[in-house]
């Protein structure tokens, strides 16, 4: 079995943990406590790796699998941190018909991660987005604030090397 445990080293601080424990203490006895705890935890850490989910499990008695099931069900939760650079590929209709799907695939292959994940060195995270209002430049991707348009699959290497 492939484990989808994040390979980016966990860098949680004691302060973050104290904050999370406080939230758990406050909420754990109310019904449906898991969702608000997870939302706060993601606010504190930016994502929900195994280390964070374990803290929640140990302190609420909710089985780890149940927490993981909820985290993977909702798109609002992420198992991976944001990288230094977030590459966001538009898969909106205009970009998609212009081949952004292939660009997205190429990026996954090149970075060795799936959409939603972060490279182990913490440099790049990859995500798909819907229409950034630049359909005239389709297909489009952004790297943090930088926008790249009228792309082909061959442009991917060049863009990555600019930030590597």
């Amino acid at each position: 079995m492939n484990s989808s445990k994040s390979t980016v080293p966990f860098k949680g601080t004691p302060e973050q943990e104290a904050q999370l424990l406080e939230i758990i203490k406050e909420k754990k006895d109310s019904q449906g406590a898991l969702m608000p705890i997870l939302q706060k935890a993601q606010e504190i850490y930016g994502y929900l790796p195994i280390e964070v989910q374990k803290i929640i499990s140990d302190n609420t008695g909710i089985p780890l699998e149940k927490i993981y099931g909820v985290v993977t069900f909702y798109a609002q939760f992420s198992l991976y941190p944001k990288g230094e650079y977030t590459i966001s590929v538009c898969l909106g209709t205009a970009c998609y018909v212009k081949g952004s799907g292939d660009i997205y695939d190429k990026l996954q292959e090149k970075l060795g991660i799936a959409g939603g994940e972060c490279t182990p060195d913490g440099k790049f995270s990859l995500e798909a987005c819907r229409c950034i209002g630049a359909c005239g430049l389709a297909p489009v991707l952004t790297v943090n604030e930088d926008v790249y348009g009228r792309l082909t699959v061959d442009d991917v290497d060049k863009i990555i090397s600019k930030y590597a």
């Binding site: 079995m1 484990s3 989910q53 140990d58 699998e65 927490i67 993981y68 099931g69 993977t72 069900f73």
Partner: protein, 580 residues
Amino acid sequence: MENITVKVNGVEISVPKGSTVLEAAHAAGFEIPTLCYMKEINEIGACRICVTEVNEGRGFRLVAGCVYPCSNNMEILTNSPKVIESRKRTLELILSTHDRKCLSCVRSGNCELQKLCKDYGIEDGSVYDGVNNQYEIDDSAAHMYRDNNKCILCRRCVAVCGKTQGIGVIGANERGFKTYIGSAFDMGLGETSCVSCGQCIAVCPVGAISEKDYIKDVLAAIADPEKTVLVQTAPAVRAGLGEAFGLPIGTDVEGKMVAALRRLGFDKVFDTDFAADLTIMEEANEFIERVQNGGVLPMITSCSPGWVKFCEHYFPDMLPHLSTCKSPQQMFGATAKTYWAEKMGIDPKNIVMVSIMPCTAKKFEIGRPDQSAAGVPDVDYSLTTRELGRMIERAGINFNALPDEKFDDPLGISTGAGVIFGATGGVMEAALRTAVHTLTGETVTDLPEVRGTSGIKEATYKVGDLDVKVCVASGLSNAREVLEKVQRGEADYQFIEIMACPGGCVNGGGQPQVPMGIRNFVDIREERAKVLYNLDKSMPLRQSHNNPAIKEVYDTFFEKPGSHKAHEVLHTSYVKRSVN
């Protein structure tokens, strides 16, 4: 209770208010098919196979019969063209993502999905075929594998793991089309704190989860002339095996089982009941010692390897409460490879010890450390009741026509105390029969207070001038409740029996699967337990200490219960494990 009247397929019937459509139909003699529904445990109305037409005065419409409550004067149609059409469509959709390897699937012939497809005439299972998820088979656990390509997402396994057992190491991950049943962070089941109880396998409607099958290895050992192949059968196997051959639930097949094992080629057919008697000698002695010498109390039984593993993961601080006795399976193997091997002049390395168990955790147990009294594993292969059923079927043995035969001597000699080990409360009753005799010289047989299928039972017995307060729990969420009570100091028990599976081994994870349509209405725990209590009643000897073979094994080998030698061979230790 208030009753209401409903009409099922034109048959008028009065049912208690609050009954579901499914229950009303059952009472009227019509079965509504189900896949996800498990009474009180998984009432999620998700699979839609149970759709039924109901009319509450506003015309007929389809509802999920398993959870929809009846109203007064409701008309119910369980077999209308609309119902059949809908169920067919649902089956075709389920099949579109089901790996249809039915030819050799372990569940072929008793698969609930296969039966429905036959009943509803699904001639083409591929009508909705399209893109499919591909899953790797998870075989990381010692006792079972999961093949999600066959999973139909009914969530029965999730419900028994989380609710009945209170463990929850499996659940639904991701969502929509990508949904699959797995563990946190895609850990293999072997990495989690799964206790190997196998209750998930017992309820799976299809072949998505199954025990690891060692039939081939056992057949190879039997075929090897160098090896002496011994088999032992747990008490509960004789109460369940008949179901694999179409016999009614609760049929005693002890004699036929022995005959079948002999015909399969085992050199000696022995009985785990002998080792159950041996366990009682050691455990009753340990209990008395703990009481008299201020040892850790309450003492908790250690026969159920699923329970032992649960304690190691979830209550590691309570391990000193566990009896140090090995389980009967392991005591049997250890005694066979030391005492019996010596007596027969056979090198224990050439003995292959096979056990037939109603249990999947036994497969994990044989690989535990500190279970090799003769320097080789006490038990080499542990097969489930289901595997034995398949072995017999494959060998072409006409099981139902077999004569009744007897176990071999001396490790086939047992008492009524040994046979009731297979039901919740049985170990407690057997232990008390011997402990009371040791302390007071009195003879005790029936102890009805600790019998029956309720999850937690309590009783107090006056033994001499001692009040012995006991508790019996089966099903691990019940066990958790009892242990937490002990931890909080709210219970002053001296002796606790815990079995991992609800109702004890008779309802073990290795017993033949009973279709949920039957399980929802018949208490299989009770029916199978009756077999054991009837056997107990019919036996001339009903206390372990009266077993002549046990007397001999102590006289000639172990000296006395709790001796140095007994400790070396028959006792073990436990380890702390983490929760994942």
